[in-house]
Symmetry: C2
Subunit: 577 residues, 2 copies
């Protein structure tokens, strides 16, 4: 599923150099042309232009009193014939003749509309004939507008009209703007670090290493091939991040960001309707209590502080504190030096924890409920956004189970499926050892083919594969070489894990025994306070789960990397911007 | 407003020692009594008790099939005469006679109800007469229930009935539970580190230093005085945090946590209704770009990382990225060694940023709008919770301005007010120098007396008092010795700052000039990328603000410290739990 540069494509060195040189030459040519226009724009002396009040680079533009300020997304046929003021990004412009220019304006993600400006002053210079009524538009103004750099922010006054033919290149195809005033509020430079066209292509490389010379050559070759086939050069993730504003302006990234927002909203509203209360676990903690290897450490007024790897202990403190059902949405941190499409050092966790009345399946059902709610509602509420993402990153539709037919396999059943129907290398997987990522993906493929679902649960993990707080199944059931199973589960989207959860131990003696059996000292910092809380007050039976927000968005959309779903992805090599 | 131990109260050493000794003796007595009951509970041999299936310490209790599981908060007259199952904290119990015990159950914050259990078996031992129908309750069961330690978690089956007289001590006064089964799901220990009574008293000391011997004596004296006057001993914040579950269970803390949730909800819903989009700024950043002094630094795979002091730059990147109107709710970090009632090293910021159409008053109006919405709605939606908080921390009602009569002073007007109507020590405050915290509080007092409001805005701060990104007023207005004023403001609750905001510079040349004039190198790490973004793409006019969530909750409720509003307050000395 991961989109990576084809490792087999070995361009000849000569071809690569040639392509690189050509690319450089073209870039230089484009830059010079842009600079030429820019200098023209800058050098326009507006003083003797009868249209001078209707355009230019100004901080506080003035418009006709009867012009209504509208957002592009709100424009509809009711505006036909009306004069409006629109603030937007100018994403394209071209001069048609000395008397007419076209522009393309964009706002609100991907709401685009065509604008045109036509000179109303006959002739030029001393012989110019200014119209006695109606808009005053000079040829200089027409030319000036055509010279505005793409991605500048403008405010235009315009009459809304229906075009003769629908403007296919714009989302608002049934209306166009006949521009009468145009002010440049924030100019873009002549050369963008990444054009909107490039920003709207799939990212070609997610490595956060600076490219080596050989890779740069390969990239140049790739770009040249792409350009030769009529395509637009695409950019690496590094280039996207170095041009963060352009990265964000691309409709595909706007759509991903909007889908991300909706996932959080759906998570929150589903839980609030079921009496869950939000809380904020701390990021700064006094002990690396869940294992010290992957935790960030910092100096803190003469002691050490650590960044929380999960809100696990704090969710349980909330339960001990009588909060009954809680959830949190916030950052968690992993100091893993993993440069993969699945990892970031900072990501957003969607967590919940709840008292159990009868047994742990209440927790599993709540988590299944919230995830199915999210996955189903996304397809309804974000249909447009999903389509935009698919137009850049094509993917198979996400297969959801029919209501009441959710798929739940035990860990042992999943391993059996893998042995019997998976690829040959997994013929000998064991029921008492944790799954690897390739195994998980293989299970996902078998499940999709057999059960027609991209969402499923693997339950009853062996205790060897779970942390000390996982509750062992009271029935005494075992797998493999007598390993006990737990009331703990993982959830999967398209064969990739997005949630871990289960029942937690609430009996302090049982908890201490499990802490010891995992080789942890019950008196070590953090553990002592954690275990102590269970002894201090008595804690009712409870369970919960943690969802990786970035992964839910990425795998639902079948994106090549979680780095596309975070606003500012953090990787071991990258902390900017 | 800050509630602190009275520094003038110097107890005699002798009195303190006496009080301490007495307190120790009483604690020991209580512990022995509790242990006695506990050993009785543990030693009960249920085998020969005809009621043995109806009580005890069990993991999976069984109830009558027709008993409905209900939450205390949902109990009403419609349940009268019905059999229900209730899971709750047992907060009190007492034996009335050999045949009858009373308990007080609590759930859902402060929903309390009285339960009673009456023996139905006549006689004891071999002569016991078990009733042929109805509940089977032995005297041993009655005694066992009375011996359950306070704050244990129990599940009871009971018949709901109206009491002869309303039970004044319980929130659900019109119903009581006639218990027929009682199971102990999670026992509390015989001695709690902090009782519910103590947890429900105002916190007496917010210092995060371990108490010195002298202070401990003073505390003992204070406690003794308190007890002598019929009151309950109160605890320090350290004791509260060492007993985090009891701290959280106290109704006052539940109410504060619920009000905090509502503030976040109101902030979010108000903004979402106005097309603001949530985003997540990173916590880990690559440069201490807003000034290095108060920033936490950590080792990050061979480079340095820092914890974000605010989402300022990232909010602006969102605007540059065409997101138009954004907000964020998340943690921010300050490495300030400040041990005050206003400071924490980690707190929650409510931030927003928006494009400006005409001028910066749009931003000010949006921020005023969202805060007034929060403050007004809290009084409606959280009336019960506010009452609970006031019963522990008494306060004057919060005075809100009438709609349309919001108070906005310029910085110069506020300073003039302080000179003319404030305390004598502020007779000479200047219009071109920032206010101190005591000055702010003094302004708050004058404003409350004069304008009858606890919420107001101070606008047009001098540029000397604002960071480099604050936009200077284009009119050229100055104060004091020719210092220019900015389009930047602070908001205040009860004389304490809770928000900073204003218009940001969007012109890269203007921004660079201001960065330089503040003595910052425009090429320094972080600043370079920040400034670069404005040059890279063009950014429309915009502004925003940041609100301290903890302060809004604390000062709205007139609490003595923000440490009471955070789930897990972080101070320079304290990272546990």
């Amino acid at each position: 599923m991961e989109q990576q540069p084809d490792a087999n494509a070995q361009p000849s060195k000569k071809a690569a150099k040639k392509a690189e040189a050509k690319a450089k030459k073209e870039a230089l040519k484009a830059q010079r042309a842009a600079e030429r226009v820019a200098s023209q724009v800058a050098s326009v002396d507006l003083e003797d232009d009868p249209a001078k009040d209707n355009y230019g680079s100004v901080k506080t533009p003035t418009f006709s009193p009867d012009a209504e300020a509208v957002e592009l997304r709100s424009l509809d046929e009711s505006h036909d014939g009306k004069t409006v003021v629109v603030r937007a990004w100018l994403q394209n412009s071209r001069i048609q003749s000395a008397k007419m220019s076209f522009v393309e304006l964009r706002k609100g993600g991907n709401w685009t509309i065509q604008g045109l400006v036509t000179a109303t002053i006959q002739g030029t210079g001393a012989e110019a004939q200014v119209p006695s009524e109606g808009p005053v538009i000079s040829r200089r103004m027409v030319k000036w507008i055509a010279g505005i750099h793409p991605e500048s922010f403008v405010a235009v006054e315009a009459k809304v009209q229906k075009p003769i033919e629908p403007v296919k290149s714009c989302r608002i195809s049934g209306l166009e703007l006949h521009i009468t005033k145009c002010f440049l509020l924030a100019p873009a430079p002549a050369m963008l670090g990444m054009t909107m066209a490039a920003a709207s292509q799939p990212v070609v490389n997610f490595s956060d290493e600076e490219p080596k010379a050989a890779d740069a050559e390969a990239d140049a070759q790739k770009d040249a091939e792409h350009a030769a086939s009529g395509g637009t050069p695409a950019a690496s993730m590094l280039t996207h991040l170095d041009n963060i504003a352009m990265h964000k302006r691309a409709p595909v990234q706007q759509a991903i960001a909007d889908i991300r927002i909706e996932v959080k909203k759906l998570f929150r509203s589903y839980l609030e309707a079921r009496r869950f209360k939000e809380f904020e676990p701390p990021c700064l903690i006094g002990a690396a209590s869940e294992g010290g290897a992957n935790v960030f450490k910092l100096a803190y007024f003469g002691q050490d502080a650590f960044l929380a790897q999960s809100p696990q202990f704090y969710k349980q403190f909330e339960i001990a504190g009588g909060r009954e059902r809680v959830f949190s949405i916030g950052p968690v941190f992993r100091a893993e030096n993993s440069n993969t499409a699945r990892h970031m050092t900072e990501f957003t966790g969607l967590d919940l924890e709840m008292e159990i009345q009868q047994d742990y399946t209440e927790v599993r059902a709540t988590l299944e409920g919230v995830l199915l709610h999210i996955l189903r509602e996304l397809q309804v509420r974000c249909a447009d956004e999903i389509e935009i993402v698919r137009s850049v990153y094509p993917s198979e539709p996400f297969l959801l189970p029919e209501p009441g037919k959710e798929l739940r396999l035990t860990f042992a059943e999943a391993q059996q499926l893998l042995r019997e129907e998976g690829p040959p290398e997994f013929r000998n997987v064991r029921d008492d050892e944790d799954m690897s990522t390739p195994q998980e993906k293989a299970v996902g493929a078998v499940v999709r083919a057999k059960y027609k679902t991209d969402f499923y649960v693997i339950d009853k993990f062996p205790e060897t594969a779970r942390p000390f707080y996982a509750k062992v199944d009271d029935s005494g059931a075992t797998v493999g070489d007598g390993v006990r199973v737990t009331n703990a589960f993982d959830f999967f989207l398209r064969g990739q894990e997005i949630l871990s959860g289960g029942q937690r131990i609430n009996d302090p003696d049982e908890l201490e025994e499990r802490i010891r059996s995992k080789g942890v000292d019950p008196k070590s910092p953090g553990i002592k306070e954690y275990l102590g809380t269970f002894r201090q007050v008595g804690v009712p039976p409870h369970g919960g789960g943690g969802i990786g927000l970035d992964r839910v968005v990425a795998w639902f959309l079948a994106l090549p990397s979680v780095h596309l779903t975070a606003g500012y992805p953090r990787t071991p090599k990258r902390l900017m911007p």
